[in-house]
């Protein structure tokens, strides 16, 4: 009898515990459903429908038609290719630069705090403002960049007229903006590394390079992988810098996928096709993010 009562109490206790936990989570769940799940499902609905302009919403069901249209559109593939080029160059560059700079400024010296604080500035500048300012700096006619490069006999460069340079421009602006973020994470990670391991390596006669390559880097790999995933999630959203600096040009040289989707939706009013593109990009991003997370876990286990 006593055991039965104790069992019941345990059950009620567990139930109560469960209720308390869910009651804490409920507001967040409701909020996420409203601001995240509903727009995604609404976009999904539109992607399988025609878009009725008179009600500005989903019209009749058209099955996979919008997806077929999108997959047959060369501009969609071009934009994906442009986005891929940007990601393949910008992400490793930013991660390498970020950790490299962090390692260099990790040494104890006066004014280190100030430099770290200054590093935050590019991150807090609005992307549209950053794009506009860089557009002025790199202007082939009036910009100061060509002026300074001219002093050392370089250029003039047509930053926005040459397709390759235009992509380089986007990568430069994005790297200027986001490398400090990685520097901050990397600096925190470096400070958190166990000092005794470095001291032991020093006693064993390890030089600066050996300490970086054989001690610091293996310890940092999980952080580097996590940073890469975080930065990847930010980079796939690239839109505003392109809009403010190159407008996707010259031609379609910097027309990244998000800019293309925006133009198709809000300039050509192809909302249904745009919704299909959004869903395709969402699935692609989720798959790649899943792969990166898996890779990052494997790296953690290896080191």
């Amino acid at each position: 009898m006593t055991q039965v009562i104790a069992g019941q109490r345990r059950r009620y206790g567990r139930l109560g515990d469960l209720l308390v936990r869910w009651s804490f989570m409920l507001p967040t769940i409701v909020l996420l459903m409203a601001v995240l799940a509903y727009p995604i499902f609404y976009t999904l609905e539109i992607s399988f429908s025609s878009f009725d302009m008179s009600i500005f919403g989903a019209g009749e069901w058209v099955g996979w038609d919008n997806y077929e249209t999108v997959l047959q559109d060369y501009r969609f593939w071009d934009s994906l290719r442009v986005t891929l080029i940007y990601l393949v160059i910008a992400l490793p560059l930013q991660v390498a630069l970020g950790f490299g700079i962090a390692f260099l400024i990790n040494a104890e010296w006066g004014g280190r705090g100030l430099i770290r604080a200054l590093f935050i500035i590019p991150m807090v500048v609005a992307p549209v403002v950053a794009g506009g300012i860089w557009r002025m700096i790199l202007d082939p006619l009036w910009g100061i960049m060509n002026y300074f490069l001219g002093l050392v006999g370089l250029g003039p460069f047509d930053w926005f007229g040459d397709p390759n340079l235009a992509m380089a421009t986007i990568i430069i602006i994005d790297t200027w903006r986001w490398t400090p973020f990685i520097v901050l994470i990397a600096t925190a990670a470096l400070l958190a590394l166990p000092k005794d391991v470095f001291e032991a390596a020093k006693i064993d006669g390890a030089n600066w390079w050996a300490m970086l390559w054989s001690v610091a880097l293996p310890l940092l790999v999980p952080i580097i992988a996590a940073t890469f995933v975080i930065r990847w999630l930010g980079a796939v959203k690239l839109f505003d810098i392109v809009l403010a600096s190159t407008y996707g040009g010259p031609g379609k040289a910097t027309s990244v996928i998000n800019l293309f989707i925006y133009e198709e939706a809000f300039r050509s009013f192809h909302f249904a096709e745009s919704a299909a593109m959004v869903m395709i990009v969402l699935v692609l991003t989720m798959v790649l993010t899943g792969l990166f997370l898996r890779g990052s876990r494997k790296l953690e286990e290896s080191f």
């Binding site: 302009m53 082939p140 407008y247 379609k252």
Partner: protein, 449 residues
């Protein structure tokens, strides 16, 4: 007899009194009717207008006070929207159950799109005709600008800020290069013959600091009109009589090659130039010519805060002549009334005043807008207006003759974006002009189907 007289007299008196009373009642009713929907001092009407941010602020500060001198009880708020978001905002407005705006200011190619959605009131229809002043002169409008507010025979909106693509030139550059000043008879061949000489060293320091031309080259919906102006001047057109794309032919390709050739004589980075950049280079005296919307004239030649140029240096005319005619392109801002407005009378009072002979003159004089009425064009009130108005009248005639405007269709925005994409690819050398126009024609045919 007397009684009869008296009786007749009193009858007359009664008749007169009744007549006076009736007239008084009638006048009161008429007066009440005239004031219906136009607000009172105690209960003014709030009217909201959506317009382009390029001129909304000026309108609010200089035109609304003038309007309020005539209609003091209609409080007008003009909201400005950037060009690229303007149509999307209008479309959302048109489909909203509770729209915010009473008067919609619409760009040239958007009228069919909004009319198709039922977003606009028929301005000559049964709702507006009875409240239109007898003095309102529809026949006074030039046909080309007025047609931009029309769709399928219905007048949905009226020109409030007319614009045409024109050729601006800097006389100092032509003089320095030893070239004659351009005239409206200048052909594209002559233009390209002169262009290399206009790439020159203006300040004598031994380096090139001035170029022949700047205009729209960037991937933008306003870039294809430059190519189209050359196409139209050579007798080509965007669509044939059946509404099928007709620009992917020799004339179209040659026009796009000419547009691309302009880059050879343009300043570095011109491939990324649109309205602001080309305007800047011209106003800074770095280019000899600019193909640009005419409405920038006043700020370019008259306003020292905006430009280094003066009216003495600034010339303006239609774009060079092709095998068929001179070139231009129509870009008219028109004002229409939202079909869902609850303030029809006040909305029409505003649109009617703004587009009336008097309102247009005020708009031209205070806001620098270009007129659409013949009476305004024939009587320029300020010196700077004289050459502008004669060029404008000429460009209206040329545009009307050559149908020099963007595709008129409820899908016009989509077609213009296609042209923007493909013209930009050709200008950037990513595809040949022929391939770009073939792709554009195929895609536009699909959109218009």
């Amino acid at each position: 007899m007397k009684s009869g007289y008296l009786a007749r007299g009193s009858e007359n008196w009664l008749l007169r009194a009744a007549t006076v009373a009736l007239m008084a009642t009638g006048l009161t009713m008429a007066s009440a009717s005239a004031q219906d929907g136009l607000g009172t001092a105690e209960k003014p009407i709030q009217l909201r207008v959506i317009a382009n941010s390029a001129f909304s602020h000026t309108w609010q500060s200089v035109l609304v006070p003038e309007f309020n001198k005539v209609y003091p009880n209609i409080k007008v708020t003009i909201d400005g929207v950037p060009y690229n978001e303007h149509l999307a905002k209008l479309m959302l407005e048109a489909t909203s159950a509770d729209p915010e705006y009473d008067v919609l200011v619409i760009d040239d190619p958007w009228t069919p799109q909004l009319a198709q959605l039922g977003a606009l009131v028929d301005l000559k229809g049964p709702k507006v005709a009875p409240i239109t002043s007898a003095e309102y002169d529809w026949a006074d409008f030039n046909s080309a600008p007025l047609a931009s507010g029309e769709w399928k025979g219905v007048q949905y909106s009226i020109p409030v800020r007319s614009n045409m693509l024109l050729m601006f030139y800097n006389r100092a550059h032509y003089k320095k290069a030893g070239l004659p000043e351009p005239t409206p008879a200048l052909t594209w061949e002559q233009y390209f013959e002169q262009a290399p000489k206009l790439v020159q060293d203006m300040n004598g320091d031994g380096t090139v600091d001035a170029w022949a031309v700047d205009t729209f080259f960037v991937r933008d919906q306003l870039t294809p009109p430059i190519w189209q102006a050359i196409l139209n001047a050579n007798g080509g057109s965007l669509l044939d009589g059946k509404g099928v794309p007709a620009f992917n032919n020799e004339i179209g390709v040659a026009a796009l090659e000419k547009h691309k050739k302009l880059l050879e004589y343009a300043p570095p980075g011109a491939l990324g130039h649109g309205l602001q950049e080309s305007l800047q280079t011209f106003r800074q005296g770095a280019v000899a010519t600019m193909f640009m919307w005419g409405s920038v004239y006043k700020a370019t030649g008259v306003d020292p805060k905006a430009s280094t140029l003066t009216l003495k240096e600034l010339g303006m005319q239609v774009m060079p002549v092709g095998s068929a005619s001179a070139g231009t392109h129509r870009g008219i801002w028109t004002a229409g009334i939202s079909a869902k407005t609850k303030q029809l009378n006040a909305s029409w009072a505003f649109v009617e005043w703004l587009t009336s002979k008097r309102g247009e003159k005020i708009n031209v004089s205070l806001a620098g807008s270009f007129p659409a009425r013949k009476s305004t064009l024939n009587a320029p009130s300020e010196d700077w207006m004289k050459p502008v108005f004669s060029t404008l009248q000429e460009s209206y005639d040329v545009a009307a003759k050559g149908r020099m405007w963007r595709i008129r269709s409820p899908r016009s925005d989509a077609t213009q974006q296609i042209l923007a994409d493909e013209v930009a690819r050709a200008l950037a050398g990513q595809v040949s002009p022929k391939e770009a126009l073939d792709v554009a024609a195929k895609r536009i045919a699909k959109v218009l189907k």
